[in-house]
Symmetry: C2
Subunit: 350 residues, 2 copies
């Protein structure tokens, strides 16, 4: 018997994080008798008078949202990070009790005044305005002296902890470099120092050659299921040029990013004919004033669904305590995404 990566359990290596994922391809066949998720079939109005993100409405702190026409950003009324705190530090018990104050701020970014839309249902021009807002927030927040990292992300769907269906994302900006980008920075730097090129340049060149994990491509971006994906339909959107941060993208590249973001999420929605939940976010260079030629920015999507619109992958027990684990191969997932239409199922003419 020959070893076969489509059938036999194995581990794959993630060079960005220097960690391995356990892959168990044969396991997708087990029956599922556990928890099923609710499908959100609700028809939403274009404007909801009770939504704190809709234009013209009053938020919990009494502030009134402007009558915005495309995007709108404001400081989160319940921010996890705060700007105005004193600094403090603990280092006791032989280094076993260490803590440090952490300054930062959290913003909410509305993608559109339309309460009833999601990214895959918006047009590319509208999404391009979201890309511009990312650039503006990254530049403005990153310019503050004490802000060294800006995390842009989006939680889509109730199953991903999103508490308001109005299309929106978040930006958390802070003093320290968080764990995930820190790992990716260290490994990209090592690769760059050794090879004189970014890790992801070499990686996507090979992926484009092989094609098996690519799900979408335009002139400036490629969307693919990484070889080392953890979540069932995990993907990343990577610029073909080695760009360290969103603000380094050209006008044309910004358009292409908006196009890739839409195309990928339309395909996602089409898989199970449901608004496909995910957490997505951009990993890019810190705003610490350094150049960071090792950084190759990318947008990562972690969608929880596994088998259907209602059965997700549970990252519990073994996965929490031991090691990341997945039940279908990256190649199987990629084929499934790739074969989806670029026309959203809701707008498809039957």
């Amino acid at each position: 018997m020959e070893f076969n990566f489509e059938d036999h359990p194995h581990r794959r290596y993630n060079p960005l994080t220097n960690e391995w994922v356990q892959v168990s391809p044969h396991r997708a066949k087990r029956p599922w008798q556990g928890q099923v998720e609710k499908v959100d079939e609700e028809q939403r109005p274009e404007h909801d008078p009770n939504c704190y993100l809709c234009a013209g409405n009053t938020r919990i702190n009494g502030e009134v949202n402007p009558d915005y026409k495309d995007t709108f950003a404001f400081q989160n009324d319940f921010a996890a990070l705060l700007e105005e705190i004193p600094s403090g530090e603990v280092n006791e018990g032989n280094g076993l009790f260490k803590a440090k104050s952490e300054r930062g701020l959290c913003k909410v970014i509305c993608f559109s005044p339309r309460h009833d839309l999601t990214i895959p249902e918006m047009d590319v021009d509208g999404i391009r305005k979201v890309v511009d807002l990312w650039c503006k927030e990254y530049a403005e927040l990153g310019a503050r002296d004490y802000i060294n990292y800006v995390q842009i992300f989006e939680n889509k769907g109730a199953v991903m902890g999103c508490s308001n269906p109005h299309p929106h994302g978040q930006v958390w900006a802070q003093e320290s470099l968080p764990l995930e980008p820190e790992k990716k920075q260290a490994n990209q730097l090592e690769y760059f120092d050794k090879n004189g090129k970014t890790m992801l340049s070499d990686y996507i060149a090979e992926e484009l050659k092989q094609g098996t994990r690519v799900v979408y491509e335009n002139e400036h971006f490629v969307a693919l299921v990484p070889y080392w994906a953890v979540w069932p339909f995990e993907t990343m959107i990577v610029p073909k040029r080695a760009v360290a941060r969103v603000t380094d993208l050209t006008e044309e590249e910004r358009d292409a990013l908006a196009d890739a973001y839409k195309s990928l999420t339309v395909k996602y929605d089409n898989i199970f004919q449901v608004s496909f939940p995910y957490s997505a976010g951009i990993h890019q260079a810190p705003t610490d004033g350094e150049e960071h030629p090792e950084w190759h920015m990318h947008m990562t999507f972690y969608p929880p669904l596994l088998r259907s619109a209602t059965v997700k992958k549970f990252m519990v027990g073994y996965e929490m305590l031991a090691n990341a684990q997945r039940d279908i191969t990256a190649e199987t997932a990629a084929a499934r995404i790739r074969e989806q239409s670029l026309t959203h199922y809701k707008s498809a003419v039957l």
Copy 2:
């Protein structure tokens, strides 16, 4: 204004993993309009003819469960790891495409024939038999030549991906050392080499002195919310003696572990008067034939609930893409667990 660790956002350091967690104590006050979980109020029979874990029933592959009286272990019918696979390896594209076959096996361990019980509702004698089964499985699986690590764990509750309420856990045994125990091993080894004692000996000595994070203690074990806890009510049960693995526990210590396991989970159930979901598992020395004096075994509990029986903490967006984050301090959570009665709410006489 003085920095105050009970109110101001900060980061805390986890010396076992060498990672930081973002703590945002003030954030627990935000209103919640998102997803709520279902509470399982179902009255279960002592024996369910449709349960594949109950004694005497037939499993999906045709095997009949024995008429077991306390615990029962069998190989998972849909195992993520398999024993009989050929070996294979990939290393291509300048180290960017690396994969390796992984041998192993997965067992299911039933805690009791009683379909209607959970650990906090079992008596200490019954739980002691579970501890003995852990020892037996760790010893037997670990003795196999190619098995280098044995992960014992339990997923409790539908929200933690548990698809059968019959009280049970799992054991996954494999060739490689998974990521979480690998990190803990490296950091414990460094500490041991430097200090000539296990990290957790020093750590729990200080915790017992301070008392603020301790939630339960008996002669041989302490249960506490670690200073660096990530999940809202995360705890660990640690032996007072530096024991590397379950099989090194004395008879008395095994009894004490059963008592601590019951006491902690009774308190958990009492917090929201609901069967408290969690993933729990034992981190201990690998079964690679080495002595591992640096390892100080411990049982870790990751419970998802945050505010009530139906509102959990979502580890999404920022947490997936950037950094672990929590909304209440370890001390607040510990006080809440500590103050709970040792009498289970279901058996309390009103």
